[in-house]
């Protein structure tokens, strides 16, 4: 049954892969890859249990960390075209976006 759960997660990864390929916008891809990373963390954990060696969870922790950092790095890159901009000390995260009326 654990293996079935693992396979269900892998099938979900396949679906997300299709979304990554289709796009259509850049942000869809970032979203899909971020979600893919979350699923990879879960898959790694389950894999440890399927193989009877749950000590492998360390890698899952590492992935949870790296997934977050790389998502933020990608978005920062696309917003400022640079990695050198500090993220703190800005006024308001919304930029001019908040002014847009609904």
């Amino acid at each position: 049954m654990t293996a079935a759960a693992l396979i269900a997660i892998l099938l979900g990864m396949v679906l997300l892969l299709i979304r990554t390929l289709l796009g259509p916008t850049l942000y869809d891809r970032v979203l899909a890859v971020n979600s893919f990373g979350t699923k990879t963390v879960l898959a790694l954990g389950l894999l440890g249990f399927v193989m009877g060696r749950p000590e492998f969870l360390d890698i899952a922790i590492l992935y949870a960390l790296i997934n977050f950092v790389s998502t933020i790095a990608i978005l920062k890159f696309f917003r400022y075209r640079s990695f050198q901009v500090p993220l703190t000390g800005r006024t308001g995260t919304g930029g001019q976006g908040g002014k847009r009326n609904v």
Binding site: M1, T2, A4, A5, L6, A8, I9, L11, G12, M13, L15, L16, I18, R19, T25, Y27, D28, V30, L31, A32, N34, S35, T38, K39, V41, L42, G45, L46, F49, P54, E55, L57, D58, A60, I61, A64, L65, N67, F68, T71, I72, L75, F78, R79, T93, G94, G95, Q96, G97, R100, N101, V102
Partner: protein, 124 residues
């Protein structure tokens, strides 16, 4: 009384593998539901909502299932670390993606969408 507790422990030992596997499977199926939503929904912002199912209920259920199957407390501690980390970072990542898309001027679809995709431009 201690007899009862010992019985309870024995029962828990028997039941925790199947129960953990079942909970994991349920979480994995929820993850799949989330990805089906990511495939089906019409625009980026709505897809974000579908993806957050995976991050919250799907991941939580899978981690609970793994904790039920865990052979020792160390594993449970690691699972708890993963849970806490996901709990704090996944909304931040979602917000970062949404904010980046919004700042770049990606307009969301607004208003009822019933099968056919009628696009209503928001009044800017």
């Amino acid at each position: 009384m201690s007899d009862f507790i010992a019985n309870l422990q024995a029962w828990f030992e028997v039941v925790r593998y199947p129960a953990g596997a079942a909970v994991s499977l349920a979480g994995a199926l929820l993850c799949m539901v989330g990805t089906i939503g990511v495939m089906r929904f019409p625009d980026f912002y709505t897809r974000l909502h579908a993806a957050s199912i995976t991050d919250t209920s799907g991941a939580t259920l899978v981690l609970i299932g793994m904790a039920l199957m865990a052979p020792g407390w160390l594993i449970v501690a690691k699972l708890l670390t993963i849970f806490l980390f996901m709990f704090f970072t996944s909304p931040t990542a979602s917000h970062a993606v949404a904010n980046a898309a919004h700042t770049a001027g990606l307009q969301p679809l607004i208003g009822p969408i019933n099968g056919r995709r009628n696009r209503e431009e928001d009044s800017q």
